[in-house]
Amino acid sequence: MATPAKKKSDENIEQKNTSKRKRKQKQHNPNVAMVLSILFAGLGQLYNRRFLKGSIFIIIETAFLIVFLESINYGLWGLRTLGTIQGTDHSIRLLVLGVLSLIVTIIVITLYVFNVIDARKQAKKIQNGWKPMNLRDSLSAFYDYAFPYIMTFPGLLLMIFVVIFPLLFSVLLAFTNYDLYNSPPRNLVDWVGFDNFTNLITVPIWQDTFLSVFSWTIVWTVVATTLQIALGIFLAVLVNDERVKFKKLIRTILILPWAVPAFVTILVFSAMFNDDFGAINRDIIVPMFGGDGIAWLSDPMYSRIAIVLIQTWLGFPFIFALITGVLQSISKDWYEAADIDGASRFQKFRNITFPHVMFATAPLMIMQYASNFNNFNVIYLFNEGGPPVRGQNAGGTDILISWVYKLTFDTNNYSMAAVISIIMGLIVSGFAFYQFRRTRSFKEEGEI
């Protein structure tokens, strides 16, 4: 049994200890930790007595300084100047290196900012009397914290190089004069600011071509997509009629065009529509209507019609299959109620079927429009965007994306292609952004 005096002295010691610790806590200054880790990543963590974390940061920064600093410096120099010595400096390679350096720099800056914030947070915690855990616990806490980052890391890394890096590169190209005449290694490429954008609007040939291609792209997107959606819904409703037999067989047949690879069918169609010896002219048009057949490939008007028809053929089965699934989930009660009210067939479709279908599939329908806007395959494989049109440098059926392809790979007008890519990307992603936000807010409302 402890005497009261001893008890008192124990309390005294304890008080002394706590006050000592408190003073030590007070002395631990978050600002010092912050300044230290700004000076060199990891120092702040050492000050916080997180030795493992601190040394990892120090190792990363040292490695970065030793390995990358020089090449990044070179890369950023290249990005700024695009090379200075004609014939030696390869501007485009410098641009690629520059973009890569930029990405690495941004990653390193992010890590650095994270290190500073982390040091400050931890120092504050210590100041407020937080006791560090032992190694094992802190490791497992770190694992918990870092787990989602570890999971996304491989995907993120790939996406940085496959999505972000090429995008940055092409956006930057739009502000250079990179084309057939200014191409490395013979010549240097220069930054030209917004010149390409002004040229697109002011130089007649660019202006004309852009306007005509752009308007055809919009017409194409709206007409072809709407046709394929309308035909898909129409056939789905038709086949869903309870009086129709052999439903399974019919559905299988109607889905066939989706199942056969589009690459093959488009090329076959382009042979069939051939002006001189295509099956459509030879076997159908000429025997039935006489004459020399229709100039499917060489007359812009007919080419456009042919392409819209082909896309409808290719695109309706997917919609058909989708809608068939939705139709089967609409309760029969709706229709029975409508029958009692004496609704006509069209009224039933308008007020029951159509809203149901649209409610369930709107996002996928919107994506159909977006994908046709960028539908390179049909246009290019059918007749490479042709036929040629006088007074402009795109073909009669060229939509923006196939025009960009031609500018890039046929005439090597990279900078203009980049300008048009940016415009297209802004249109489609703006459209999609609006749509995402609408469906999202809609959904969140629904969840409450």
Partner: protein, 279 residues
């Protein structure tokens, strides 16, 4: 006109419309089949029902002169690697997005989806130079890496939508029993998400098979071609416009693919609809 005849006429009209559509669907397909059995190489002489039935094109494809089998093998390598890789990568990403809180969770996927809407033509110039720097130009590995990176946003969004429908109580229960992060992923999430993972695998198996644009840029030597590039060159070659050979070569890959699609279309559609609307 009484009710019964009207009814009968209506049904007849429905069948008539379906019949017309069926003819329109079969016409080009039958024509392709017919062409592959025609003799000679030109379109002039080929007819819907071959007058001189011959297997010469099929025989040629398997003969010593053609690289067809090599291309087939390359395509299979790319497709299988892409299917497996995409399932692994996207399920990891989707798991993190569906169950954890981290910086960028809310908008990360959407940002990438929007960025991907920018046309890829210019990107190809960049990727070409980049692959060249890494020494991966004209290799299947380089091609696969690009496919793998490009498919993540859409498929991760799809799989995340599906993961979100799996009740959280299940993984909480597993955690109480002492399962770690990976254990929950492996033993709870993955088995329940099998349908959508199958859809992702199938999509990514099919997607590279008939993509000709990227491979034409990445692959330059003929022994590295994938099927689409090789087949396209049959008809695109200025000096050997060989349409019948193209038809034969396409048949051998299109028929198995069509069969798989028809067999699995219900799962494809429901996968798209469920992941897509809930994402």
């Amino acid at each position: 006109m009484n009710r019964k005849t009207k009814n009968r006429l209506e049904v007849l009209a429905i069948y008539f419309i379906i019949g017309i559509v069926a003819v329109l669907i079969f016409y080009p397909l039958v024509w392709t089949v017919g062409m592959s059995f025609n003799q000679g190489t030109s379109l002039y002489s080929s007819t819907l029902i071959p007058e001189n039935f011959s297997l010469e094109h099929y025989r040629w494809l398997f003969s010593e002169d053609s690289d067809y089998l090599l291309w087939y093998k390359n395509s299979m390598i790319v497709s299988v690697a892409n299917a497996i890789g995409s399932v692994v990568l996207t399920s990891l990403v989707a798991y993190a997005f569906s169950r954890y809180k981290f910086v960028g969770r809310k908008n990360g996927l959407y940002v990438f989806l929007l960025l991907q809407m920018f046309p890829v033509m210019m990107a190809m110039v960049a990727l070409y130079i980049f692959l060249n720097m890494l020494g991966l130009l004209d290799t299947l590995t380089g091609l696969i890496l690009i496919y793998l990176g490009g498919q993540i946003p859409f498929n991760a969004w799809l799989v995340k939508g599906y993961f979100d429908t799996i009740p959280r109580e299940l993984d909480e229960a597993a955690r109480i029993d002492g399962a770690g992060h990976l254990r929950v992923f492996w033993s709870v999430m993955l088995p329940l998400a099998k349908p959508i993972l199958a859809v992702v695998a199938l999509f990514n198996f099919m997607a590279p098979l008939f993509d000709f644009l990227l491979p034409t840029i990445v692959l330059s030597s003929e022994e590295n071609y994938t099927l689409a590039v090789g087949l396209y060159n049959f008809i695109n070659d200025q000096f050997a416009n060989n349409f019948t050979r193209f038809a034969a070569g396409s048949m051998l890959i299109a028929v198995p693919i069509a069969a798989v699609y028809l067999f699995l279309q219900r799962y494809l559609i429901s996968g798209l609809a469920s992941g897509g609307t809930k994402g």
